[in-house]
């Protein structure tokens, strides 16, 4: 083949590289970048899927700003984040710290903590929904009843519903965080601890002066990873409140559920797209914050 032989080795190399990348590049352009641009453009338009798209300027964003439900949902989303992240961080660190010091049945105990991570959110949302039912159905209220404690209205109360929906999400993610924390703990050289022990430093001081500062990259990673997860919460909320998604009275509704509702029940595509742009901006800030905190000094 004369054409092939006329190429230098370097040219052939480049040709191979681009032939390997051709299809993936097409995929990323069509399935990732074009839709991103499309969502941003759509957020400045009005469209109900049937009629023509019309330009709306900033109308959707103004509507969002004046929408009481949006602010309620925005607040809920951050309540999920601000409750979920610190709770799961502290619990998983506590478990990892102690599990690291246990040898008997170490693998088995670790497996028990990790197992929920392998479950499907939809299936477990239904299991927890069942737990939360009033007597005689729900386990939690049955246990309370056994001890003569008044019943708790978990899912039908505007104050209790959000933490109740959050609990299975925290539960499912703990195992992952425990494993990452344990990997972080293992990376700390034992010589630091030995030096501290020789100096007669107390266990609490070792924890606050050695362990936690050296775990900083791990802590930042887990914080950002779980923050993004809680900001995008959907499966649990949707499945635990199917009779009234996001209810009662929007008390559990997160941003993603509002997006889903606006787009696929209300068919107000432009308005939903504006909400996705807000979500994107929030997630982008969290990711950039991670890059900033982890930057090399």
């Amino acid at each position: 083949m004369p054409f092939r032989n006329s190429l230098t080795i370097r040219q052939k190399h480049i040709l191979w590289a681009w032939s390997f990348l051709a299809l993936p590049v097409l995929f990323y352009v069509v399935i990732r970048f074009y839709p991103t641009g499309n969502a941003i453009v759509l957020s400045f338009q009005n469209w109900n899927l049937l009629s023509d798209r019309t330009w709306a300027g900033a109308e959707n964003y103004i509507k969002l700003w004046n929408d009481e439900v949006f602010w309620k949902v925005f607040k809920n989303t951050f309540v999920y984040l601000l409750l979920g992240t610190p709770f799961s961080l502290v619990i998983s660190f506590f478990i990892a710290f102690h599990l690291d010091r246990v040898r008997f049945m170490h693998g088995f105990i670790r497996m028990m903590y990790f197992l929920p991570f392998m479950t499907s959110a939809v299936a477990m949302a239904w299991v927890w929904r069942w737990f939360y039912q009033p007597v005689p159905v729900g386990i939690f209220n049955n246990i309370l009843a056994t001890f003569g404690i008044p019943q708790i209205n978990f899912l039908n109360s505007t104050t209790n519903a959000l933490p109740s929906v959050l609990a299975p999400a925290v539960w499912a993610g703990l195992g992952f965080q425990v494993i990452i924390f344990m990997a972080g703990l293992r990376a700390i050289p034992t010589s630091y601890y030995e030096a501290a022990r020789i100096d007669g430093v107390s266990g609490f001081t070792i924890l606050t002066q050695i362990t936690i500062p050296l775990l900083k990259p791990t802590i930042i990673f887990i914080t950002v990873f779980s923050s993004i997860g809680f900001l995008r919460i959907f499966d649990h909320v949707f499945n635990m409140t199917t009779n009234n998604p996001g209810g009662p009275l929007n008390a559990t509704k997160p941003l993603v559920l509002m997006i889903y509702d606006t787009a696929f029940n209300g068919f107000d595509m432009g308005y939903a797209a504006a909400q996705t742009v807000v979500l994107f901006t929030v997630l982008l800030c969290v990711s950039l914050l991670q890059l900033y905190l982890l930057r090399d000094r």
């Binding site: 102690h98 049945m105 929920p116 703990l174 990452i180 900083k216 595509m269």
Partner: protein
């Protein structure tokens, strides 16, 4: 010494700590509390399975072990027929997506790692930047696209967004860094072309990473909810999570049947986990830290 020097590691993760442990009462209490905590963690799963094995009249007693275990619920749910279909849909979709990710993520990761060519840096940054784009932002344009091309309510419609992932690409790129260039050069001298070198020389050397990627992609697609919920209309096209969600909604009071459906969707992944446990945990750390 700066704090950022120390990165988590998989070294020795699968065994208990080597630091000396004193035998003391404190140590026994520590073990006991951790063990009880672990029991609490698996309780929801245990209750789900236990209830799926109970007769309706037993559901409301709180025994973990049913008095008269029955597989009646499983027979009922499976005879209903829909779960078979959902199960099959989920398996096909998860398998095809996994194979696609294994092939394309590793091919792109390999190319970005081992080839020098103009545009390499731009492609790298472009793919990296897609990690910042949340799925939820893309579902509306994907839906419009599916509607335009008639992909709604089809396997292709459910699968197409996940055929390649930036996460998998970077995971594989990291692992191809560990493959020595000399190996590839030797194969080149032996007259293999670049496609053969990738497939027969480089790929076998990153098998652990490929397996980790396969498990993540499979699990991710098996449990995926929001996109399959949006793109499917007819119950025959539902995946297991979407089917379970609609099933739970209609069987609102028959908790033993809902638990059976939940168990059917969960048990396969639990079996995979228990069989490949060490492997998956190592993979989680590798992926979490390198991806």
């Amino acid at each position: 010494m700066t704090a950022t020097d120390i990165r988590p590691t998989t070294d020795g993760l699968l065994t208990a700590s080597k630091t000396p442990i004193k035998r003391s009462y404190g140590q026994y209490i520590r073990w006991l509390l951790l063990f009880l905590g672990g029991i609490a963690m698996v309780m929801p799963i245990a209750w789900m399975i236990s209830t799926s094995l109970k007769w309706p009249h037993e559901v409301y007693n709180l025994k973990l072990i049913p008095d008269e275990p029955t597989i009646e619920n499983y027979t009922y749910v499976l005879e209903d027929g829909r779960f078979y279909g959902w199960f099959l849909n989920s398996i096909v979709i998860a398998m095809v997506t996994t194979i696609s990710n294994i092939l394309f993520d590793s091919l792109v990761g390999y190319t970005l790692c081992k080839f020098k060519f103009p545009g390499r840096y731009i492609i790298f940054i472009a793919i990296l930047s897609t990690l910042m784009i949340p799925t939820e932002m893309l579902v509306i344009p994907w839906y419009i696209m599916s509607q335009t091309f008639g992909w709604l309510d089809s396997y292709w419609g459910i699968m197409f967004p996940g055929l390649m992932t930036a996460f998998g690409t970077f995971l594989m790129k990291q692992f191809f860094e560990t493959v020595p260039d000399d190996f590839l050069e030797a194969a080149r001298i032996d007259g293999l072309n670049e496609l053969q070198i990738w497939w027969t020389v480089a790929m076998p050397l990153v098998k652990p990473a490929l397996a980790a990627l396969a498990i993540f992609v499979f699990l991710g697609n098996w449990t995926a909810f929001i996109w399959p919920l949006i793109v499917t209309n007819s119950p025959e096209m539902y995946t297991v999570p979407v089917g379970l969600s609609s099933f739970g909604d209609e069987a609102d009071v028959a908790w033993e049947l809902i638990m059976t459906g939940a168990a059917i969707s969960t048990i396969p992944t639990l079996i995979v986990f228990i069989v490949f446990q060490r492997f998956i945990i190592r993979g989680v750390v590798m992926a979490g830290l390198k991806g």
